[in-house]
């Protein structure tokens, strides 16, 4: 295990749900799979997903009439038409299979109880008869931005239960997991990915892994927002960062960053959307349900981008509750009662007790919006294969596949990890069957030497440079202050300048710890430049996009502009280049025409071209932008016009 160079068929970087599900598919096809994980895989951030996983099983009374097509409609509207509609369709079709497969792996999904059930809907208590013939099937709860109850759940520990079940399958199949390892750069020849260089977080040594296929499944980049995120401290975007470093692989829609409405103030710990799905509501300092006025139809269950903006505006208007940590609002779930809170929302109960010292059956929960999810990531085609490097795949939050566009619906990320893990895993397995391991180890040893030199350079540098943690904290302040929920051109200009300064500071920063071995300060320093570079792509992408779409809101350009911006941002930036280069590709084939989402503003700038003329350009333009051919033709999984049966 201490060899400087090892080989495997399929290398999976990241041991969360998407990476593990992908590895299972490759291993089941007979390939040797190796999973690298920063932490023991069950500690991956997938475990923190709480409220549910969207799949149109339609087992509950309030889910009646649901179907993959309705799920597709909700997902595209939620994305503010930023999603690739074919991918959204593949996703919605396969989500029910993924939920049932998890049941097969052992997830104890909450089940339908036939007969009378008590619920809260829009703040009102209601009694609903669940059909006796549905008793014992997987149940659903309500979530934001959906027409039907669709979120399958295991109390408020859905991600934990799913991750443990999937990891148990990894153990059953005997797949090797090397925990406490981190991929620090990709090995490639300019057109093919050949593996990765890895740093061992037990010993601090580097080694190279050559593989027929490499999968990045490292999750999101929330920690570029410093402490202002729900994300775990390990969500530093390293996978996206090492792909960006190649200069060949573009990242997509990096400016599309989600803020979750209800995170505990001030710690930023997530409080699930399931609280509002189960009938909880938001209150301002005057105990007014401000969402009822702002969004009369969906109220607290509009999409996350819309609810977060209304919350932020309410606080800006002086209606937040003052605290030493700045203003917050209240989440009220007292009326759900202790029994409900200690079963279906047990994890919320624990979090309130442990981190706010309160009992949510008696007390209001202080909440405010905080960075939560990265819609942007490594741009891949519908097979999950990256633009630019054959044999490099990405899945889950690390990828821009792109079913979320500019706003992800709650519960769609857990579902994406499993659905894309299954689908991309199959493509990865096919790819690995079709190529032989390249014998040329020169690229690997060169990359290994470069990675070791980077670490040595950090240790050798001396002088009066800044401390790496100060730079991280400064970055977080810039991102939340100037690249947050409401954005303006002026603030984004400032952010770009300030992040540029932090990049210079990083190049001159000095380590205080020179200890051999793990050296946590060195480990962080090696990630810091990548975090700053990702932050720069977010800020510059946001500055360039002079419209408002989903979670990207420009106060100076408040309308969605389908005439000029119905496209996806792509950014490439080799490690040695001083500036990133941006380009824009069509979002994908359009089936559902751009329109009103059903919540939020109904004003927008319409596209003048016909949809047919837009669609004619998609394949050629995406190919020019680096899209590799997918195993099935573009559009093969689009069910054209199926949505018409569900729209008046």
């Amino acid at each position: 295990m201490n060899a400087r160079l090892t080989t495997t068929d399929v290398l999976v970087v990241g041991g969360g749900l998407a990476g593990e599900r992908c590895a299972i598919e490759a291993a089941a096809a007979g390939h040797e799979a190796l999973i690298l994980s920063l932490v023991p895989p069950r500690r991956s951030h997938s475990c923190a997903a709480q409220g549910g996983m969207q799949a149109s099983l339609a087992n509950c009374a309030k889910a009646e009439g649901d179907s993959p097509t309705v799920h597709f409609l909700d997902t595209v509207r939620g994305s503010d038409w930023g999603a690739d509609q074919e991918v959204a369709n593949i996703f919605a079709d396969e989500a029910p299979v993924a939920v049932r497969e998890l049941a097969h792996f052992g997830v104890p999904w909450s089940r339908v109880r036939g007969g009378k059930n008590q619920y809260f809907i829009k703040g009102e208590h209601v009694e609903i008869d669940e059909a006796l013939e549905k008793d014992g099937l997987i149940g659903q709860r309500d979530f934001g931005g959906t027409a039907k109850w669709r979120a399958c759940y295991a109390a408020a520990g859905t991600g934990h239960a799913a991750l443990y079940a999937v990891d148990s399958e990894v153990v059953r199949l005997g797949i090797t997991v090397r925990d406490r390892t981190e991929a620090v750069c990709l090995i490639h020849d300019g057109s093919r990915c050949l593996g990765a260089v890895v740093r061992c977080l037990r010993t601090g040594t580097h080694f190279a892994v050559m593989a027929k296929a490499t999968v990045i499944a490292t999750g999101g980049y929330g920690r570029i927002y410093g402490q202002y995120t729900t994300n775990a401290v390990i969500n530093e975007g390293t996978g996206a960062s090492i792909a960006l470093d190649t200069g060949v692989v573009p990242l997509g829609n990096m400016e599309a960053v989600q803020f979750h409405p209800t995170t505990l103030s001030p710690s930023g710990i997530l409080v699930t959307e399931g609280c509002r799905g189960d009938g909880g509501y938001l209150l301002d300092k005057n105990m007014r349900r401000f969402m009822v006025e702002k969004e009369p139809v969906k109220q607290e269950l509009a999409s996350r981008d819309v609810v977060s903006r209304h919350m932020q505006q309410t606080m800006r208007d002086g209606n937040g509750v003052d605290s030493p940590y700045g203003p917050h609002l209240w989440l009220d779930i007292r009326h759900l009662g202790e029994e409900h809170l200690r079963t279906k929302l047990l994890e919320v109960w624990d979090i309130c007790r442990d981190f706010a010292g309160l009992n949510p059956a008696d007390a209001l929960i202080p909440v405010r919006p905080t960075q939560h999810y990265s819609m942007g990531g490594i741009r891949v085609n519908k097979d999950g294969e990256s633009y630019g490097l054959a044999g490099l795949f990405a899945v889950g939050e690390a990828a821009c596949w792109d079913m979320h566009g500019f706003n992800r619906l709650g519960g769609n990320s857990l579902a994406e990890t499993l659905v894309s893990g299954r689908i991309v895993g199959r493509r990865v397995a096919e790819h690995a069957s079709g190529v032989s391991l390249r014998a040329n180890t020169g690229f690997a040893f060169d990359a290994l030497a470069a990675a070791e030199k980077r670490a040595d350079d950090w240790l050798a540098r001396s002088g009066s440079g800044r401390n790496v943690y100060e730079i991280r904290d400064a970055l977080g302040e810039v991102m939340i202050g100037k690249v947050g929920i409401f954005r303006t051109g002026d603030e984004l200009n400032e952010a770009v300048v300030e992040i540029g300064q932090l990049l210079d500071d990083c190049d001159n920063a000095v380590l205080r710890c020179k200890d051999p071995g793990v050296n946590p300060e060195l480990g962080f320093a090696l990630r810091l430049k990548g975090m700053l570079r990702l932050a720069m792509t977010v800020a510059m992408g946001a500055r360039a996009r002079t419209e408002s779409r989903g979670a990207h809101f420009r106060s100076d350009f408040p309308l969605r502009n389908d005439e000029e911006w119905l496209n996806r941002t792509l950014v490439r930036w080799a490690l040695h280049e001083s500036d990133p280069s941006f380009s824009y590709e069509p979002t994908g084939l359009i089936d559902l025409p751009p329109g009103h989402r059903g919540y939020g503003s109904d004003e927008r700038i319409e596209m003048k071209r016909t949809i047919d003329s837009y669609n004619e350009t998609v394949l050629d333009e995406q190919t020019q932008h680096g899209r590799l051919p997918s195993s099935e033709d573009m559009g093969s999984r689009l069910k054209r016009g199926a949505w018409q049966a569900y729209v008046q």
Binding site: P40, C47, F105, S110, V112, D135, S168, C513, D515
Partner: protein, 252 residues
């Protein structure tokens, strides 16, 4: 929240175990760090501050910082606990931090729980043993919500290792299943989807490394941050395995 009653913040004195196995000059010892207490300070906040302002080489593990991932088990004043949800206001001014025993030390407060739990999962075959392959076309198998809730209760273990560290037997025998392992077995045993026979279960959990090796001191139940009912788990497993043993005797 005692510190909120007084305006003068407390000065906290941390005594922290130090040893870096990768450094040939390192010897096990403790270091003292003093920091000022801030409102709602958790050990996650305190340790991050010590590393960022006092000693950047200090090793410890956090990931979710919300008592969900199980990374940050450590000995806090002699008792295993999750550091992220331990508030300094609940502790005296002198705070001793040591790594969890029973696990291999990686450095300072960081221990290798991953290898221990993977080994336990392999030995107990902690996965659903089913007779049939998954059929993507079929409706899910039904289950009563009460059974699902009972399985979920056992599934809540976050594998932080606090119970293992607190266990007298696990500290002497690295194959002993300890509270987390027993709980894992019970979770699958009660799951109707797992088709293992009673005799197969007997092989998994009976014997000195399983339920009959337990001395019944039940420190595991006292320290479990998720308050899992480990006493009931232990009673359930003993009952099940003894039942199998007596039945086997009757057959003879």
């Amino acid at each position: 929240m005692s510190q909120e009653k007084s305006n003068v913040p407390r000065r906290l004195k941390f005594e922290i175990f130090r040893y870096n196995p990768e450094d040939e000059y390192s010897e096990p010892h403790t270091d003292i760090f003093e920091i000022e207490e801030t409102p709602f300070m958790s050990l996650y906040i305190a340790l991050s501050k010590i590393r960022e302002t006092h000693d950047p080489g200090l090793q410890f593990d956090f990931a979710c910082r919300s008592a969900t991932c199980g990374s940050c088990g450590m000995m806090v004043n002699g008792r295993p606990a999750l550091a992220c949800r331990t508030l300094t206001s609940d502790l005296p001014e002198d705070i001793q931090l040591y790594p969890l025993p029973a696990f291999k030390l990686i450095g300072d407060l960081s221990v290798d729980t991953g290898t221990w739990f993977r080994g336990m999962a392999e030995r107990t075959e902690a996965w659903i043993h089913e007779r049939q392959a998954f059929d993507p076309e079929a409706e899910e198998e039904r289950m009563s919500n009460d059974i699902a809730a009972a399985i979920y209760e056992g599934d809540r273990c976050i594998e932080c290792g606090c119970c293992v560290a607190s266990c007298g037997v696990a500290n002497l025998d690295d194959q002993f299943l300890a509270g987390a392992g027993m709980n894992r077995v019970a979770r699958f045993m009660m799951d109707p989807r797992d088709k293992r026979s009673e005799a197969e279960w007997f092989d998994v959990v009976a014997g000195d490394e399983g339920v009959f090796g337990c001395l019944g001191m039940m420190a595991c139940a006292d320290v479990c941050p998720k308050e899992l009912p480990l006493l009931e788990v232990y009673a359930y497993l003993r009952r099940k395995t003894l039942g199998v043993r007596f039945l086997a005797r009757d057959d003879n």
